[in-house]
Structures are given as C-alpha cells and as structure tokens.
C-alpha cells in the first residue's frame, strides 16, 4: 500500500489504466490462449475424449502428412480461398462502384445487397441446397427441364460441387464487402476527381490512377478478412452436404470440416488438434504474406 501512496498522480493513472486493461487481457488469456496452448499440447498426444491422454510425439503430424484425404482437403481449402477471395472482391467492387453513382433508391438497393449478409448461413445453405436438387424438387433443374435442357448435377458431382457451394458463400459475404468498399470510395477526396476532370483524364485512367490506389487500405483489409473467412469455411459446406459431409468423395471438404469430423465423429482428439495447428499456421502465414505484399511502402 505504501508503494502505491508514493506514486505520482500520473503513475497512479497508469496503474489504474492497467487494472482496467487487465480484465479483457485475463479474459483473453483464459478463453483464448489457454485452450490454444492446450490444443497444441493435445496435438502431440493420443486422446479419445474419455480415457487418459498418452504422449505420442509427432505421430499425429506424420499421419497427417501421409493422409491423402488431408492433402485433398488442403487443396479444397485453398480452392475456396483462391476462387472465393478474388471473385467476391471483384463483384463487390463493381457493385459498390455502381451503387455509389446511383441516386435513385440508393438506400433500398444497398439494403438489398446487405440482407444476405444478415441471414443465417445455416438457413441459407439449406435453401440453396434445395435449389440445387435434381428433378423433381430442385428449382434450377426444374427450370432447365422446362427448357428441355439436360439436368446439371450441382452437388452430386466431384467437379461442380465446390463452386456450387462457394457461390452462396460469396453471395452472402457480398453485402459486407460492398459496405466497406462504399465507405472507402466515399473517403476519397472529391478534389482529386475534380482535378482529373479538369485535366481531361479518361474515366478508366481515373479508376486506375486515383480510385484503386487510394482504396488500397480498404482492399488490404477486405483481402485479409475474406481470406480468413474462406479458409475457415464450414457452415455452408456442412449444411449443404450433411448426409455426406464434405462429399462427394471429399471434393468439397474444407479443413475445418475435417477437424470437426475427426474430433466429434472419430473422437480422435490428438489427430484433430494436429489438423487445427496446421490450420492455425496456414492462417498465420497467409495473413502475414498478404499484409506484407499489400503493405504501403
């Protein structure tokens, strides 16, 4: 107590600031860092949730490395990322760029794009699952059938299933990205555009030389944010393929679904934890790379 009394006022303020800051810090350490550390520990062990944990060294990682399903799943996860991120960003930018110019029913149109983002992913996935069914229930295929076009196997196909699942995931995320892009567009000072107009710069050049460079912080944020989202995709895949999770033949299975399946159907917690650690490292590397590449110089 005497120690505290001897402090100056500003030092006391710092002590109090740290006291308040400690609450979220302690909270974070207990609900985030402790389980994370525990997961890393479990990844070196064999545990079925019921018995004792036994130390197995790097066996789980060796098994993972030699598991063809893991590599397939790894590839899928990156396909979700590599297709999902650019496609969603380009569509979102085009939509935002156009909405920004529209005055007629601006709020309504913006709301229409934002509603899917607020909808429960589970409900949406089930509705799309119904859309994709073959005749006689599926909406798309019934439509094709009335036009006498052969059916398309959307979900029951090793090639079409992944894009089919990705489409509603991209659509659902658009609303958020559009709002962020519009905020970014609004924050670009009008004076640059006025100067460009006076100098007679073409609209295309204005887009490339002014709009896009000045949107860079927005783009960096969205790329990182949506990449993490696509690397962690689960709801859409799981709900659209509940009978054959991640199927057919693992063609849509992302890493998170494999982790879930290993942990809560196989009860192989060690192996699941090893997959989690790999996912963690992938997320870390991808995020760091993106920040580095897109960083302002």
């Amino acid at each position: 107590m005497t120690l505290y009394k001897n402090l100056t006022i500003s030092q006391k303020q710092i002590v109090w600031a740290w006291c308040f800051l400690a609450v979220p810090a302690v909270f974070y350490v207990t609900i985030r860092f402790y389980p994370t550390a525990n997961a890393i520990l479990v990844s070196f062990q064999d545990w079925n949730l019921l018995g004792t944990r036994t130390w197995t060294g790097i066996d789980n990682y060796v098994k993972l490395f030699n598991d063809p399903v893991f590599w397939k799943v790894f590839k899928n996860t990156f396909l979700y990322l590599i297709i999902g991120t650019p496609v969603s960003l380009i569509i979102a930018f085009i939509v935002a760029y156009q909405i920004d110019k529209v005055r007629f029913m601006h709020g309504t149109i913006r709301a229409l794009y934002f509603i899917p983002f607020m909808t429960s992913a589970v409900a949406m996935a089930w509705v799309w699952r119904w859309f994709y069914q073959p005749v006689p229930v599926g909406v798309f295929n019934n439509f094709l059938a009335t036009l006498a076009i052969p059916q398309i196997e959307f979900l029951n196909s090793t090639t079409n299933a992944l894009p089919s699942i990705l489409a509603p995931a991209i659509w659902a995320g658009l609303g958020f990205q559009i709002i962020i892009f519009m905020a970014g567009l609004r924050s670009i000072p009008q004076t640059y555009y006025e100067a460009a107009r006076i100098d007679g710069v073409s609209p295309m050049a204005t887009l490339w030389e002014i709009t896009l460079p000045l949107l860079k912080p927005t783009i960096v944020f969205l790329v990182v944010f949506s990449s993490i989202g696509f690397l962690r995709i689960f709801d859409q895949v799981f709900n659209m393929t509940t009978n054959n999770p991640g199927g057919p033949l693992n063609s849509t299975k992302p890493l998170v679904l494999m982790i879930y399946d290993t942990a809560f159907n196989g009860f192989d917690m060690g192996y699941a934890a090893a997959q989690t650690v790999v996912l963690f490292l992938v997320l870390l590397v991808v995020s760091l790379l993106q920040l580095r590449i897109l960083r302002d110089r």
Partner: protein, 417 residues
C-alpha cells in the same frame, strides 16, 4: 442480534440433522441420457414406477443434447460427479470400458447364462470376460416400408418377399418424365441412410458372405458374395433404373413425399411417418434371398452402472438396472418410444408380433446381426464413397469394393492397435 444468530444456527443444525436422517433412508441415484423427447417421457414413467416399488430410492434424470453428451459424461464421471447409471450407444462400449467409466454388472444378479437365454443374441456383444457390462432396454432393426397407394396404383398385391421380387415391384412403380429424369423411384437408395447396414449385414450375408471376421476386427466382404451384393445394389440404379442415389436429397424425404414405392429404414422412423398426413404406408420384413436366407441389422442403446456408483448407491443402481431391463419396462418403452423390446419374452408376445407396424421389425430381430463399429460414421462414409466412386468416377464395382475393404480395414486397425 444474538437471538437471530442463535436462531439461524438452530435452523441450520435442524436442517443438517433432517438432511442426514433423510439420506439415511433414501438413496438418490442419478441417471443420464441424451435428449430425445419420447425417450425422456418413457424414462420418466419408468422412474415413477421404480420409485413406487422402491420407496427408499429416488432417481434423478438429467439429459443433454446429443452433441454434448459424450463430453459431459467423460468429464463428470472421473471427477466423481454425474450419473450412477448412464446410457450409451452399444458401439461406444469399448471406449467406456477402456476409460474405466463403467463397471461390470454383478454376476449374481445378472448371470451370463440367464442373459444369454433371455435376451436376443446380438446383446452378447456387451459381454466382457465373465460379466455383462451393459444391457439394453430396447433394440432397433430394419424393415421395408412401402407406400400402399403407389402399390395399389401399380396393381401390386403386397410387398415383395424376395430380392428378385423387390426388383420387379420397383420396376412397376418407378416413373420417368419425358426427358428420362426419374420422378418416382421404385425403392430409395443411398448409403447415407440405413442402406449401409442393409448392405453389410443384409445383402452380403444373403449372397452367402460373412462381412467381417475376428469379431468385426477384420473386413471380409471383398469376396464373391460382396461383389454380388454390390452388383445387386448398384444394378437397381444402373441396370433396372428404378432409383437414383440422392433422389429428393434424402431417402426418407422421398418416401414421406409419396415419391418412393419402397424404403428401407429403422423402427425409429415410425413416429415421423405417423405424423405425415395422407401417406398410406405399410411395413414388411426385409426381402429374403432366392434361397430363403433372411438377414437384418440391429442396433441399440444400453444402460450401464458407472464407476462413480459405490456402496449403497451401487446397490440402488443395480436395482434400477434390473428394473429397466425387465419385461414391464420394455413394454413401456415400446409403447412410448416405438423401440423394440430386447428380450423375446417381451417382444414376441402375441399382440406385439401381430402388430402390423412393429411385427415385421420384431420378426427381423430373430435373424439380426449387430455390427461392432469402431467409428460408425467413418465406416458409413467408406460405403458412401464406394458408391460415389462407381457413380461419379466410373470405377469398376470390384475395384471400388476392394478399395472400400482396404480403407475400412485401415480404420479398424488404427482403432484396435
């Protein structure tokens, strides 16, 4: 102030004494199961009857969503908390025994010979050494559901009795639109439902095979019988064109919608089908092979005494186990949940066997086999993938079956290593 303090002290002492004397009379044991409404209602009734017969014992039931169930049980028992009697899926027994969560039923009250004489034979999977570890109240088996209206419209008298008749019946029911898209299936297929059980324990055995050896530790279906069974199954779609895997998303949905003539499913589907208005359905035994061989699959949930129950709680738990495995309890379970009694004495009563709905399931129990799964969803996935490979990647049946057998053996080896 002092008065109040004295009063509180006195009240507390009284409460402790009362509580103490109360517990000397009544033992409270805890029972855990996962939440499924009909099961909870049935168990409430069993507990009520049990407490009436044993006034010195009270049973407290706790239930959890299925998803949390295993985790909670695993965390509670080693900590000395949680259930004295616990419900578990038969396939989890190994894990529970190895983790020391449950203890054997006493041989003097549950003698092995008596259980083997009284219960259906598949319950023998619950024996470890000279004791039974757990016993079911109810069991489930498979049967063929059929749509009476579609049968009548197609001019078919009754459900098929043999596998060949099944194909002929299905052909009469299946319908296609002008473009050749199937719009009503003769029979639903898809390994994601109950068909993988039908294939493993039904078809393979009916074609003369034995799907597993070495107490389900070795895969044995990569054989002529396995290939014949797989050919029969895939021919339904590929040759006879009476079905399509994934038709209307889920087999049971197609049947409920009246778009499927036949559907193989478990007794637990009865309740859901009863709720479908306007659907006229019947149940028949699974079709026999040409030579008359019948085979079925059975699964069940069991109750067991946990290692937490000691002393008087152990005695009470054993008494409770005796009650929930009695004929009376089994009949209550059948009437409330629709699951079949685990003993022939309770199952094969005249009223039960003659029951139009339950009868075929109960008859199926007599020739049912219970697969001992290491990881049921993993092993089902292997069957699903086996069909997908022939469907989507044009792999030959023989190769796909061999690959499935290899994958399943690997899974079993890892589990039993």
């Amino acid at each position: 102030m002092k008065q109040i303090r004295n009063w509180i002290l006195g009240a507390a002492t009284a409460a402790i004494t009362a509580g103490g004397s109360f517990s000397a009379q009544a033992v409270e044991i805890e029972y855990w199961q996962y939440f499924f409404e009909a099961r909870v209602t049935a168990m409430d009734q069993l507990i009520e009857n049990f407490e009436a017969a044993n006034p010195d014992i009270t049973v407290k039931m706790t239930h959890f969503p299925y998803a949390d169930y295993r985790t909670k049980v695993a965390a509670a028992i080693p900590a000395g908390e949680g259930p004295d009697v616990v419900q578990l899926f038969y396939g989890w027994l190994n894990d529970y025994v190895q983790a020391d969560l449950i203890q054997p039923l006493p041989a003097d009250q549950f003698p092995v010979e008596k259980i083997e004489a009284e219960f259906f034979p598949m319950v023998q999977a619950m024996k470890r050494g000279d004791n039974y570890m757990a016993l079911p109240t109810a069991v489930r088996s498979l049967a063929l559901f059929y749509n009476k209206r579609l049968f009548k419209n197609a001019g078919i008298d009754g459900p098929p009795a043999t596998l060949d008749e099944l194909v002929e019946t299905a052909k009469k029911i299946a319908q296609k639109d002008g473009a050749g898209n199937i719009t009503t299936v003769g029979i639903t297929t898809g390994m994601t439902g109950q068909d993988h059980h039908w294939f493993r324990e039904g078809l393979i055995r009916q074609f003369g095979g034995d799907p597993y050896t070495d107490n389900y530790k070795s895969v044995n279906y990569n054989s002529d019988a396995g290939r014949a069974a797989l050919k029969y199954y895939t021919d339904l779609e590929d040759v006879h064109e009476v079905t399509k895997v994934g038709f209307m998303d889920e087999a049971q949905a197609a049947f409920k919608a009246g778009r499927a003539g036949m559907h193989i499913d478990g007794s637990f589907r009865i309740g859901a089908l009863n709720k479908v208005r306007g659907l006229q359905w019947g149940v028949a035994e699974l079709p026999a092979a040409a030579d008359g061989t019948k085979s079925n699959y059975s699964s069940y949930w069991v109750n067991a005494v946990t290692t937490k129950a000691q002393g008087e709680k152990y005695d009470a738990a054993v008494k409770f186990m005796a009650y929930v495995t009695s004929d009376e309890a089994m009949q209550i379970w059948l009437d409330t949940v629709g699951e079949l009694p685990a003993k022939p004495s309770a199952a094969l009563t005249e009223t039960n066997a003659a029951n139009e709905t339950f009868g075929p399931f109960i008859k199926g129990l007599e020739y049912a086999h219970t697969t001992i799964f290491a990881n049921e969803s993993g092993q089902r996935q292997i069957m699903v993938d086996m069909i997908s490979r022939t469907d989507l990647e044009d792999q030959s049946l023989a190769d796909s079956l061999a690959a499935a057998a290899e994958a399943e053996q690997k899974l079993l080896d890892e589990y039993y290593q």
